[in-house]
């Protein structure tokens, strides 16, 4: 039963990893741009929710606001700054976004201090659910439910709507899309904002579970990388499967070998790379 609870924990964690990774993945798919500031957007989402709730805003309002603010901020950064770098080598994409992440981290320390803080579970979900002999926090169940709905909505957005078709076509051939008369620059900005907004949402959702601190961005970024390395970049199903696998593995290990829980996901990644260099769902 303990294991069952840990698996439940793992599903919640894994769905947050999925949100992070799918944002990274969509941005890379369309823009061929590795966003090393993705973890910073996640952290910003968490801190914005933390700040708003601290100022008396309801969590239910803070959650969508944090997501929208991060998305808008990211879109603005893309439109002003990052789009000027697309033409250059990957090295400079990485350098610019590493610089951005560094700046965000320092700003977070300046504004909120180096220590970090805790965000209580929102009203109405601060209780526990009784599952047989065990109790389980309501908030974590809510995270699983909400992320599942979001995953479905995202699937529909990417696979079932005109916007999704444009994004997928743009990933295949941006030149053809431009020739067909689509404003690829606006699409790029929108997708960058969407991907970063998902990271911000994941951060805001994670804040009541893990608290906030200025170094959560590096951890989130590297976990997102593990997920896309295992699942394959640009693969929705891969991000979902790998996100869940990493989340569940980490949670199970937390009972078996607490100090090594993080180590295990990286070892697992190394193992998968040896056996399946392309990852579970990777195409190239």
């Amino acid at each position: 039963m303990t294991y069952l609870l840990q698996i439940l924990n793992g599903i919640g964690l894994g769905m947050l990893y999925f949100l992070l990774a799918v944002g990274l993945s969509v941005i890379f798919g369309l823009l061929q741009f590795v966003n090393f500031a993705h973890g910073a957007f996640y952290m910003l989402g968490a801190y914005l929710a933390y700040e708003m709730v601290g100022r008396g805003v309801s969590f239910w309002l803070a959650l969508p606001l944090a997501c929208l603010c991060v998305g808008a901020l990211a879109a603005l950064t893309e439109a002003i700054l990052l789009r000027r770098i697309y033409a250059q080598a990957h090295t400079f994409h990485i350098l610019a976004t590493v610089g951005l992440a560094l700046a965000v981290q320092e700003i977070v320390i300046i504004v909120w201090g180096p220590i970090g803080g805790n965000l209580p579970a929102p009203d109405g979900l601060s209780g526990v659910v009784i599952l047989g002999d065990f109790i389980y926090p309501e908030y974590r169940l809510f995270v699983i439910g909400l992320t599942a709905v979001l995953a479905g909505a995202l699937w529909w957005l990417l696979e079932g709507t005109r916007l999704g078709a444009i994004v997928r076509a743009g990933s295949e051939s941006p030149e053809d899309m431009a020739l067909l008369g689509y404003d690829t620059r606006r699409i790029n900005t929108a997708v960058f904002g969407l991907g970063a907004g998902l990271a911000g949402l994941a951060g805001a959702l994670a804040a009541p579970i893990r608290g906030v601190d200025p170094f959560m961005s590096v951890e989130a970024l590297s976990v997102a990388f593990v997920v896309v390395v295992i699942g394959g970049m640009g693969s929705y199903a891969g991000a979902l499967a790998a996100g869940l696998a990493v989340g569940i593995a980490q949670s199970l290990m937390a009972t078996l070998w607490p100090e090594g829980a993080r180590l295990v996901i990286y070892l697992g990644m190394a193992g998968i790379i040896v056996m399946m260099p392309r990852g579970l769902f990777g195409r190239a």
């Binding site: 890379f28 590795v34 700054l81 000027r84 770098i85 250059q88 990957h90 090295t91 400079f92 994409h93 990485i94 350098l95 610019a96 590493v98 610089g99 951005l100 992440a101 560094l102 700046a103 965000v104 981290q105 320092e106 700003i107 320390i109 300046i110 590096v218 970024l221 590297s222 990388f225 593990v226 896309v228 390395v229 970049m233 100090e259 090594g260 993080r262 180590l263 990286y266 070892l267 990644m269 190394a270 790379i273 040896v274 260099p277 392309r278």
Partner: protein
């Protein structure tokens, strides 16, 4: 003048000048030693980035392991520094071979992400095996090396020790870069498919580049541990990998001395600015964005431009290591 800047001998001369000038302009022998140590590690990073086209986010692994290996060999095995250093180089080369072999199974951005994930792996490995590494506290009381009976306790005495090793290893890296092996790395960087089609075992070459880079980086880590007397957990953190990469790119990837320049700039700027404003990394972040936008050839690019302006000849469009090597070779 611009031609001169492409010659490896000039780069080595600049390294010698750096070694001689640092004691004259810096008050702190520790800072001067740090510049040489990180300059060496950045040059090793550049062997991968500038010469092989591999952006490794895992250089901190080798730096950190070098520190730990130095600490363990000096404290537990009671070896003298002279016997410890070759073993540390072996540890670095061995680990880099494994990390490199695994990481190059994927290319492009996947490769970068893998190296970052591996740097997390080794961080957590060091964190969990606290009986070996001291966990959060690190390995304490690492002794300074001794020459004969004399312990190099003073900052400038140790600087001299670091300086000798720095120049030897820098020359060695230059030899590697100029050798047939180094030229082949450039061929791989410029067009991997072509190098492979000609018949070069591309993966073996990449792994070998990793091994050399890892060995030198581990030696730098060992020197750093003896400098500060501790092998801290922070040496194997993501942050160290990031710093080494930033130093390398700030300097510019055109040649190995550019990396020393990048390390010197980073450390001196950090030393000056952190005294005024502890959050100076915010400025560094902005600088990185500016470099990506306007100054892709780094500080070395600025020097090239200045030299070109002085001789009123147009700046070389792409004075890459390849060009430098060819110029050297093609001279009658």
């Amino acid at each position: 003048m611009t031609r001169l800047l492409e010659r490896p001998l000039v780069h080595f001369a600049l390294a010698v000048v750096t070694v001689l000038v640092l004691p004259l302009v810096l008050r702190s022998g520790t800072l001067a030693s740090e510049i040489l140590i990180f300059g060496l590690a950045a040059a090793a990073c550049n062997l991968l980035l500038g010469y092989t086209g591999l952006l490794s986010f895992g250089q901190g692994i080798f730096f950190g392991l070098g520190s730990y290996a130095a600490g363990l060999l000096l404290l537990r095995a009671d070896l003298p520094a002279a016997a410890m250093l070759p073993l540390v180089a072996l540890v670095g080369a061995g680990t880099a071979t494994a990390v490199g072999w695994l990481s190059i199974r994927r290319q492009g951005v996947y490769f970068v992400m893998l190296t970052l994930a591996f740097s997390q792996l080794f961080y957590f490995l060091a964190y969990t095996s606290s009986d070996l590494t001291g966990g959060d506290n690190g390995l304490l009381n690492i002794p300074r090396p001794r020459i004969g009976e004399r312990v190099l306790g003073g900052p400038w005495a140790y600087y001299a020790y670091v300086a000798v090793l720095f120049l030897v290893l820098f020359a060695l890296l230059q030899r590697v870069a100029l050798s047939t092996f180094g030229r082949t790395l450039l061929a791989i960087r410029d067009n991997e498919a072509r190098a492979s089609a000609i018949g070069f075992p591309v993966r073996a070459f990449k792994v070998a580049a990793f091994a050399i880079s890892g060995a030198v980086t581990a030696l730098a880590g060992a020197l750093h541990a003896m400098l500060i007397g501790v092998a801290p957990l922070s040496n194997i953190e993501y942050h160290t990998s990031e710093t080494l990469l930033i130093m390398t790119i700030i300097g510019g990837t055109a040649n190995l001395f550019a990396s020393v320049l990048g390390a010197a700039f980073y450390l001196i700027a950090g030393d000056l600015l952190s005294a005024i404003w502890p959050r100076w990394l915010l400025l560094l972040g902005a600088l990185l964005v500016a470099i990506a936008l306007f100054m892709q050839r780094g500080l070395w690019g600025l020097i090239e431009r200045a030299a070109a302006a002085m001789t009123r000849s147009p700046a070389p469009e792409a004075a890459r290591p390849a060009d430098a090597a060819v110029t050297e070779e093609g001279r009658p």
